[in-house]
């Protein structure tokens, strides 16, 4: 099977700082790959390059045979790559339901005149959007809170809303940036199951940045470890967890033995 995503020799420099250096990655359809590393290692910068927010200084990003390097973020989203943000980015004054609806625009292809005159086309698609948004809210277990203002949600629920918005784009590749941040062990275990279920039932391909090692260990097929922008290890979760360089840079003694 050809890879869904192929990244080769990807490098990003900000002025004198090399944030990511010679990063390589191939993901096959249906894989769940973890990206871990200390704070400041360059993980989010990789996501920013994959989604067109930062332009790579060197290297190549190929998604379904198409080069993404110079595409703007909205075109990349349209091709099927969706992401969540480490620092949650919601419309804080809109309701939970409205936040998901705004991300459902992929479904809509009516024009401004359709919306002004409320044509049949417009009404039909709006109905489809409403149904899709509600269905996604049920999936992420936020249906009961759909009419709450997003900023009033507890932090962990805001993270789930981020995932809901990414799913609304109907992506092929989902990039999750610390989805379990702010969740307790029970909640992150539930989230792990949910992500694994998404991968299987929706045939999603997922690249996951996460500090909760229990999440990474339970659901990732492979793990890549970054430190100071460089890849210091790749392998199965068990392999990287036993790797001395990873223990020193990332886990510390206690976590490795836990």
């Amino acid at each position: 099977m050809p890879p869904l995503l192929r990244v080769s020799h990807l490098t990003k420099k900000f002025g004198g700082l090399t944030a990511v250096e010679d990063f390589n990655l191939e993901i096959k359809p249906g894989e769940l790959v973890g990206l871990i590393g200390p704070n400041g290692a360059g993980k989010t910068t990789v996501f920013n390059m994959l989604t067109g927010i930062n332009k790579p200084t060197a290297g190549e990003i190929i998604f379904e045979g198409k080069k993404l390097n110079d595409l703007p973020p909205y075109e990349i989203a349209h091709l099927g790559i969706a992401r969540t943000f480490q620092n949650i980015r919601l419309f804080t004054n809109l309701t939970v339901y409205e936040n998901v609806k705004t991300a459902c625009h992929q479904i809509a292809d009516y024009g401004i005149l359709d919306s002004v005159f409320r044509t049949a086309q417009f009404r039909k698609q709006e109905t489809a959007i409403n149904a899709a948004a509600l269905q996604i809210l049920k999936l992420v277990k936020l249906y009961d809170r759909k009419d709450e203002i997003a900023r009033n949600l507890p932090y962990g629920h805001q993270r789930r809303l981020e995932i809901a918005r990414a799913l609304a784009l109907r992506p092929k590749l989902l990039l999750l940036d610390e989805p379990a941040a702010g969740m307790n062990p029970q909640e992150s275990a539930e989230l792990s199951e949910f992500i694994d279920w998404l991968r299987k039932d929706f045939k999603l391909t997922i690249l996951l940045i996460e500090h909760h090692m229990d999440v990474v260990m339970n659901i990732c097929n492979r793990v890549i470890v970054l430190n100071f922008g460089k890849t210091i290890a790749t392998g199965s979760p068990a392999e990287v967890q036993a790797n001395p360089a990873v223990i020193e840079a990332y886990l510390g003694d206690e976590e490795a033995s836990a």
Binding site: P38, N152, P154, G156, Q186, S188, H211, M213, Y250, E255
Partner: protein
């Protein structure tokens, strides 16, 4: 007793966020509040610091009723609140952020002394004092958020999820710092999702569930409670 919360009730719109919550913090303690998302942990800290007003109940700090005081007045009495998700001024330097934390401190020489104290706890921040806060790594940002709280030399330091978004090695480092700050005489009220780590450094703990206190006691005792192990500690304990 440095802090006493009695039968606190908080409502947001139709949501009863805190239900008859009572807790006590003794001087010199680390007390932790654990619980699921939506349990009301952040609401409790916000109510103590005056950001959210309770519908009933009482908050007594060092013998003084602070229940309806505004946040600046609460801070002036010696309560610092380190918010969830750091909330620094990204476009100010590290030093400027720290100076903001000392806005209630009288006299430049006292501010300088506090700054030296904070730098001795977090030497990394001294190295980065002229860097914009937004360009710090996640771990450094969390150190800055705690350091900003320390700049007013609080009697009570309240922290909302200091381990959020930190790599495992840094989580250990941050908890070690909290212990160090406590040893030097600051009382700590700690809200944490990482219950495993929080119970290790805390003296006592309260478990909050859907707005009410479910159970409380010495941290070591709660850590070995089977119900807590299952709900809040995952399978890591043992």
């Amino acid at each position: 007793m440095i802090l006493q919360v009695e039968n606190l009730n908080v409502n947001y719109g139709g949501i009863h966020a805190l239900k008859d919550v009572s807790l006590e913090v003794e001087e010199g303690e680390i007390v932790t509040i654990i619980g699921a998302n939506g349990a009301g942990k952040s609401s409790l800290l916000k109510t103590i610091s005056g950001i959210v007003k309770p519908s009933s109940g009482k908050i007594i700090f060092m013998g003084q009723d602070i229940t309806r005081k505004n946040p600046d007045a609460v801070a002036a009495l010696g309560i610092a609140h380190v918010p969830e998700g750091r909330k620094m001024f990204a476009n100010l330097t590290v030093l400027e952020n720290l100076e903001v934390g000392a806005f209630l401190v009288q006299g430049q020489s006292q501010v300088r002394r506090n700054l030296e104290m904070v730098y001795s706890v977090f030497p990394r921040l001294k190295e980065r004092s002229n860097q914009l806060a937004g360009t710090l790594s996640g771990g450094e940002q969390q150190m800055l958020a705690i350091a900003r709280g320390l700049m007013m030399r609080p009697k009570l330091l309240m922290m909302d999820e200091p381990s959020l978004g930190l790599a495992p090695v840094l989580v250990n480092a941050i908890f070690e710092k909290i212990r160090e700050i406590n040893r030097e005489g600051t009382t700590v009220l700690l809200v944490e999702q990482n219950a495993h780590k929080a119970l290790k450094i805390a003296h006592r703990a309260y478990v909050l569930e859907t707005g009410g206190i479910l159970i409380s006691g010495p941290a070591a005792q709660l850590a070995s409670n089977p119900m807590i192990q299952k709900a809040y500690l995952g399978k890591k304990v043992g």
